[in-house]
Structure formats: C-alpha cells, structure tokens
C-alpha cells in the first residue's frame, strides 16, 4: 500500500503556498471536460461541489437524504473555529495549529493541521459573504466564544445552530450551481459501490431510493464526503441515516482505513431514558462556558440537587483541572464523567448514569434572559426531551458517541491510496488525531471543501491522464451485479427479527468493549461476538418489502450489514494500539492518577488497515508521524 503522504518540503508556514504553486493546473477551458462525482452533501460535500462547479468542472452530487440541505452537518450546534484573533487575546494561526495538534494527542499530521489553521480565516470571510448570519456584537463586529481545549475565544457561532447556518450557506452556493446546471444533484441516491478501472477510481454504483434502480456513474475522479461512522454504536448523536457504507465499500475495494478506533465520545449529551431509545441528543459544548459540572461528594446521594449544599458537591473538573476547568477537551471531560459514575456518584437514579451541568451561577450573574440569549434553543430542546426545566434545575448529562476521527487514509492532497479517490470532511482521517477539539469539525469540513480539494483535485486531473471510460466497462457491470446480488439476498432471508434489533445488539458490543474505556480482554471478546452476530444477522433478519420501491428497511439492512463487518476493523485497531491517547483509552495504559498514558516510542503512527476478506484480520500498515514544530509532550490541562 502506497502511504506516501506527499508532504511538501520547506518550512511549515510555507508548505501550502509552495504546493499550490507546484501543482499542475487545468486550463479553464479544459475544466468542463472533466466529470467529478461527489458523494455526500454536508459541509464538505456541498462546499466542494459548489466550488468545483464554479471553477468549471462537471459535478454530480449524490446524497441519501431527500434534499442536500438535510445532511447531518445541519445539526452541529456550537460553532466554528478560526484564527482571526478578532478578540485580540493572543490567537494566531500557529496557536490554533498548536492547540489542534496537542488536543489531538499527537496522532495527526502536522502539515495538514497547519494548513487547516491557515485556511480557517478564509472560511469565515467566505461564509459572511454568503450572508451567513453569525452572532454579532452591538458595534456590528463578529462575536466569539471559547470552546474546550483552548484558552482564547476563537469560536464563531450563530446561536446554537451554527452547523445549520453554515450548511445552508454551502447548500445555497450548491443550489446556485444546480440552477446554473453546473451541478447535477441526485438526492435519495445511495452509493453502494466504488468502481476501479486500471487501479483508478472511475465511478460509483448507486441505488435510487425511490425507484430502486441500480445504476452506474462514470467520472474522472470520485470524492467521498459521506461523513463518519458513529452509528456503529447504534446509539449516537448522529442522524439515523448516517452510515459507513460509502467509505467501507471503498475500503473493500482497497482504500486504507486509518485509525478506525479513534472515536469521540462527547461529554454533554442527554442520558439514555429507555430501551426503545433511538438516538442520543447532544447539548452543545458551548454550555460548558457557563455551566458547571458536578456530582455529589457522597456515593448514592439521592437528594434533589437543590438540597445538596455547596460543601457537599464535587465540581470535579474545576478541582482536577484548575486552569481549564469545565473547558477541558472532550475526551478528558467524558472520561471523568465515567469515572465519577463508576464510583457510584452518578445522579440519574440506580443503574443509570449522569452528572449535573448546573447553570445556577450563570443565571445569578446574567439572569434568565442573559442565559436564554446565549443558549435559549438548547435549553428548550433539553426541556422538550427530558421534561425538566434547566433554568430551575441542573441539566443531567452523560457522554455519548458523537464523531469519528478515523476515516479513509488520505495524503496531503486529500487523496486516498486509490488514485482518483478523494476523501474530505469527517470521512477522512486526517486532522484531528485521537481527539477532535470542539468547533473544529465545521472548520475542517469547509476547509477541505472550499479551499483545499478544489486545488488538489486539479493536480490529479491534470496529471493522471487516464482518458474517458464509460459505464459499459465490465468493471461497472460487475459492480452492479454485486449490488443486485446483495440486495436480492437481503430480501430473500426469511428470518423474523428486525434490522434494528441486530443493530442495537452490535451497538451494545461496541459500547461495552470499544467505547469510552477499552481492555485487551474486552476487545478480544468483541472480536468473537461480532462475527457470531453477523452470522445470525444473515440467517435471522427479516427485510420487508421489495427492491423496486422506497424501502427504508432495505437501506438500513445494507448499512447495518456493513457496520457488522466494520465493527471488527475498529476492534482490531483498538486492540493493536497498546497505549492510551485522546479518545482511545486502554485501561491497561494509564498514569497513577488515571490520565491517558501515551507511548510515543512505539505508537507514534497512524494505523492504516487493508481489507483481506470478510472475517479475516485486515493487514496493518503504518504512517509514522513526526513532530517538528509542536514538541511531543504529555497533555496537561491542569
């Protein structure tokens, strides 16, 4: 497997500029001769489609939702980071770069992270020019707030709906190109296979979710912007439709899957309330700016929160991490919530876990109105779901699966090891290392889509020179047949159990053994349980309906079938990485006071897994990481 990251030479601050000059360009008149497929219409996919169409490429964009505007980026709440230093508090491109590398626990590629920090400033300019209504100060300037893992205020926001406003900006830019006929949009289409011709990615096979038509599409390059795989856990903050299928199908075709065990457990979500639970809801990290996290000092204290006096409360984040307090990075906050609950100090009744996120002090300081101005929609959402009023009683929160740092391996050009296959946004592995900082997902999705891929894909198209292929090529026919065969098989199984019941079972295995805390023993156990569950799925599942109509259960069955293979890859990865870093916490590797114990001597690399067949241990490759600018150090938020 070719894992050359193709990092440009020269000092880090000059690499991107140098690279942009070194890359080959496609003449404006020639761009219209190139067809590009984009899978996904979230921040990364929509921004890339719009920008490439503006440049002159013919773009076809596919999404499973009924409209590109509904991609799951829409649900991001808190904000987007950018090194603008508008607050004059000492921020810089270098500081954002430093915070991101450190926050990622030194498991990302320095050159990529630096470039991300550089283009962060352009993103805000672009979004404002599109009419995105960011929060403003009374003087008319943009407002900022602070987020976990940073000591400056660099997060731009639009109330608690930043993802929505940024996605609508990108969706509108995309819609403009659709209106101009530079982009052909295919909503309710799901990519079910990647097609390679002579080793290059030359197209995809999709299923039309309304008619069931299976069809091939040929192109000069393929871009996957299909998001993360958090739904492998069944319960997560992801939308119900989020899935691993596009990236997993590419992996089966030879793309390397990097760091799949790096998953982010978000510390502030509404706890599980029953076995019927279908998803978990995030409460934005921005709440930790004003909310204080605590549990009772005494185990099993069943008193109402208002009856527990100050002296008997443990504000454990403020106590253990005085300099970052409630704003420690997500992995640290989540792990500590688990620790206090494991000690029996959780507050959601017996057998159920939660800690308090208390706004009493903020309400004293700012009043209900002041708090409502900042977090009104989040408080309303909490009240609707839990039935409690967070203005009067503390929120109960618990960590939940939220984001996946792992993804398909890409080089500096955001191209996978399969030539022509580009991967952007959450779907790739690159920039967040073992832990993503809050408000950095929106930044990365838009950086990749607006400002990086549109340059680098030109270099590929200008140099690959592969000539046109059509969907008559046997590789397309073979891929279509594979899709048909799988669909037919799923529909022919005469079991009795629903797809969801298997998905829940898989989720529980993953949460128990590959979740917030992992052990060798647990992971080995999971590697026994998953194949066994997969076998039962292919015997006992019932998929109602036919393949020639809208059939949400067939869609779900295909996605869960892929999760049932992919879960194993995650466990292999977690088992192999015998250290703790970021979101990957192996209980065997911790310091005396329970902090993650990284092993830079033996594990300072990204794992890249190569498919060897279903149920077979994938082959491990490594991309070594070197740190020239941010010196390897133990993270310290105390």
């Amino acid at each position: 497997m070719d894992l050359n990251a193709r990092i440009p030479s020269g000092p880090i601050a000059k690499k991107w500029e140098k690279h942009r000059f070194d890359m080959k360009l496609v003449n404006p008149a020639n761009k219209r001769k190139f067809d590009v497929i984009v899978v996904g219409s979230g921040l990364a996919g929509a921004s890339a489609s719009a920008t490439m169409a503006e440049l002159g490429y013919n773009v076809r964009c596919f999404c499973y939702q009924d409209s590109p505007r509904r991609a799951h980026s829409i649900a991001a709440q808190g904000g987007i980071n950018a090194a603008k230093n508008y607050q004059n508090d000492g921020d810089s491109v270098y500081r954002l770069f430093y915070d991101t590398v450190k926050g990622g626990d030194f498991r990302s590629r320095e050159a990529n992270v630096y470039r991300l920090s550089q283009v962060s400033v352009n993103i805000i300019d672009q979004c404002v020019a599109q009419g995105v209504p960011f929060a403003r100060e009374y003087g008319g300037m943009l407002a900022n707030r602070s987020f976990g893992g940073a000591q400056v205020s660099r997060t731009f926001y639009a109330r608690g709906q930043t993802g929505q406003q940024l996605l609508l900006g990108a969706y509108q830019a995309l819609s403009r190109q659709i209106g101009l006929k530079n982009v052909q949009m295919f909503p309710r289409h799901e990519m079910l296979d990647l097609v390679l011709v002579d080793g290059h990615a030359r197209g995809i096979v999709t299923r039309n979710l309304i008619t069931g038509e299976v069809r091939s599409w040929a192109a000069d390059a393929v871009v996957l912007a299909s998001g993360g795989y958090g739904n492998v856990f069944y319960l997560s903050t992801n939308a119900k439709g989020c899935n691993v299928t596009a990236t997993y199908r590419a992996y089966r075709r030879g793309a390397g899957f990097a760091n799949p065990c790096f998953t982010q457990i978000h510390p502030t979500c509404i706890p599980v309330s029953g076995h019927y639970q279908s998803k978990l809801t995030l409460m934005s990290e921005s709440l930790r700016n004003d909310g204080r996290v605590w549990v009772p000092k005494k185990k099993g204290d069943a008193r109402a929160p208002k009856d527990i006096p100050e002296a008997e409360r443990d504000y454990y984040l403020e106590r253990k991490y005085p300099s970052f307090g409630n704003l420690v990075p997500r992995d640290v906050a989540s792990r500590n919530a688990k620790l206090v609950c494991d000690e029996g100090r959780g507050v959601n009744g017996p057998g159920s876990n939660a800690v308090y996120l208390d706004f009493a002090d903020a309400i004293k300081r700012l009043g209900d109105k002041g708090v409502s101005d900042r977090y009104g929609n989040l408080f309303d959402m909490y009240e609707r779901i839990s039935g409690d009023n967070p203005y009067r009683t503390p929120m109960k929160i618990y960590p939940a699966v939220h984001y996946t740092m792992g993804g398909l391996w890409v080089d500096y050009n955001l191209m996978s090891n399969i030539p022509g296959l580009h991967v952007i946004g959450e779907a790739n592995f690159s920039d967040h290392g073992a832990n993503r900082l809050g408000a950095s997902a929106l930044m990365q999705g838009l950086a990749d889509g607006y400002f990086i891929l549109p340059y680098t894909i030109g270099n590929y198209l200008a140099t690959a020179n592969k000539g046109k292929v059509t969907t008559d090529h046997p590789a397309f026919k073979a891929a279509e047949q594979g899709v048909h065969a799988r669909t037919t098989k799923l529909l022919s199984l005469e079991g009795k159990r629903s797809v969801d019941s298997f998905h829940r079972e898989l989720g529980l295995i993953m949460w128990n053994h590959c979740g917030m805390a992992r052990t060798r023993e647990g992971l080995q156990k999971a590697l026994g349980l998953i194949p066994e569950l997969r076998d039962r799925f292919w015997r006992e599942v019932r998929v109602p309906g036919s393949g020639e109509e809208l059939n949400p259960w067939l869609e779900k069955a295909g996605r869960v079938a892929d999760f049932l293979e992919f879960g194993e890859v995650m466990c292999h990865d977690a088992l192999t990485r015998e250290e703790s870093c970021g979101g990957h916490f192996r209980e065997e590797y911790q310091t005396a006071n329970g902090e993650a114990l990284r092993d830079d001597e033996n594990y300072c690399w990204g794992s890249v897994w190569e498919f060897q067949g279903v149920g077979k241990t994938p082959k491990l490759h490594k991309e070594p990481f070197s740190f020239e600018y941010v010196k390897l150090a133990t993270r310290n938020y105390k």
Binding site: I124, G139, M185
Partner: protein, 252 residues
C-alpha cells in the same frame, strides 16, 4: 418508567403516488411518556416487521429538530400539538392513555406523496436554486469584519434563516401556499448587506418558481406561522410582498 399508556394510531397508508390511500388502525401498548413520537412509531414498526406485516414509511433523520426531514400531520396539526416542536421532538408525555392519534402526510399539490407518510419536497429545492443565495464564488471574499452589521439586523436575519425547510407551513395552509418558506429566505437575505445586489432579481425569480411548482396563494390565515416549528414570523410574508412590489415597480 413512570407510566405506561395504550395508544391507538390511525395512520395513512399509500403504496405509491398514484395508488389510493386509506387510514389503518393499530394499537400500540406499553408507550412510555419519555418516548419520542417517532420512537413510538419505531416500536410499532418493529412489531409489524416481526409479525410479517409491512411497516409504515416515514421521513426522519437527525431526530433533534433541525434537519427538517420529519413531516407528519398529527391529529390535524403539522408536527402535532406542541408549539415550536418538530415531530421528532414531540414526546409521548404530550398524550394520554387511551388516546387515538390520526397520522397523515403533508398534503399539497406541490408535495406529491411517495409512500405512506413520505412526500416529495424537491419543489423547495428548486425554489432555492432559482435565487435563494448570494452569488459569490469561493475565494476573494473581503475580511469578515469589513462590513459591520448591527446586532439587531443580524439577529433578525437569523430568525428568518432558522427555517428548516420541513414544509409544515405548506401543509398547514388551506391553500398550500409556500409564502412563509419563500418569505423567510427572501427576508433573511434582504436584511443582510451581502444580499442587496441581487435583491430584486432574487424575489422575482423565487416567486416565479414558487408559482410554477403549483403552490397556492396566501390569503392571510396565518396557519403557516402558527405551525412552524421554528416560529418564523408572519412578517416574512409581509416582507416578501414588499420586496416583490419593490422589485416589480422599480426593477431592483
């Protein structure tokens, strides 16, 4: 769980756009108050699958009230009885033991039924692609703080931009008008300095597309705003009319 309820649902079944539809009745025992409305339907669907029947198709995705996918008329109200709440955020504590709940799809000529409760809302996308944007290519944008925007203006623009494109406004309107949806986008961009250059052309094109798609006219019932899960104000429609007049008379 605090209490368990027995709920009867009467739900619209329709196999395809041209097939006849009908209401089908199901009893859902053991409904907990903390279940969301969609989770109640999940439980029913799981039962239908396990007993060899055909489950009910409905659109949903984020289940946190922001993607705009869910679309059900519950007891005659789009998104159900709770103000400012999408179907996915509606919880069963809003209902009582023994309730009979009627569930229907959005009904509008411009939203043809695909199956059961699923409708085709691509007409909304076509309206946006006819003008609901600022024509600015990537790159070359001035510094984000170059143009100050007053907080009140930015906040008002945000209130309109908060539309999730679910279509409840159309479903609630006796004329199946899309004026609130279109007005929200026109008002959002008209309030921002970046939206000024194309202000006239935008409103004319979007209204033209809206009419071509088969949406009805506004006759000031106000049901749209009352059923909007994001509480988009009726002022959006006044703004839309004003912008349309301005563009028609002065061409800008």
């Amino acid at each position: 769980m605090a209490k368990s309820m027995k709920i009867t649902v009467r739900v619209w079944r329709q196999t395809g756009p041209d097939a006849p539809g009908h209401l089908e009745e199901h009893l859902v025992p053991n409904v907990g108050p903390d279940m969301s409305f969609l989770e109640m339907l999940d439980v029913l669907n799981e039962h239908l699958i396990e007993t060899g029947k055909t489950p009910i198709a409905f659109d949903h995705d984020c289940r946190e009230g922001i993607c705009g996918a869910c679309s059900m008329v519950i007891n005659g109200s789009p998104h159900g009885p709770r103000k400012a709440t999408t179907t996915c955020q509606l919880h069963m504590r809003s209902f009582d033991d023994g309730d009979v709940i009627t569930i229907e799809p959005w009904r509008a000529k411009a939203f043809p039924i695909v199956k059961d409760l699923v409708v085709d809302r691509s007409s909304f996308d076509r309206i946006i692609s006819s003008g609901g944007y600022v024509s600015v290519n990537t790159g070359g944008a001035p510094d984000a703080n170059a143009i100050p925007i007053g907080k009140a203006d930015a906040d008002e623009a945000f209130d309109y931009a908060a539309c999730i494109g679910c279509g409840a406004c159309v479903a609630a309107c006796p004329n199946a008008s899309a004026m609130l949806f279109v007005g929200a986008k026109v008002a959002h961009l008209a309030k921002m300095p970046q939206g000024q250059v194309e202000r006239g052309k935008r409103v004319l094109n979007m209204i033209q597309t809206m009419d071509n798609e088969g949406f009805g006219s506004c006759t000031n019932h106000g049901e749209c705003s009352a059923s909007c899960p994001k509480e988009i104000n009726l002022d959006a429609i006044a703004t839309l009319n004003r912008e349309f007049m301005r563009a028609s008379l002065f061409g800008k």
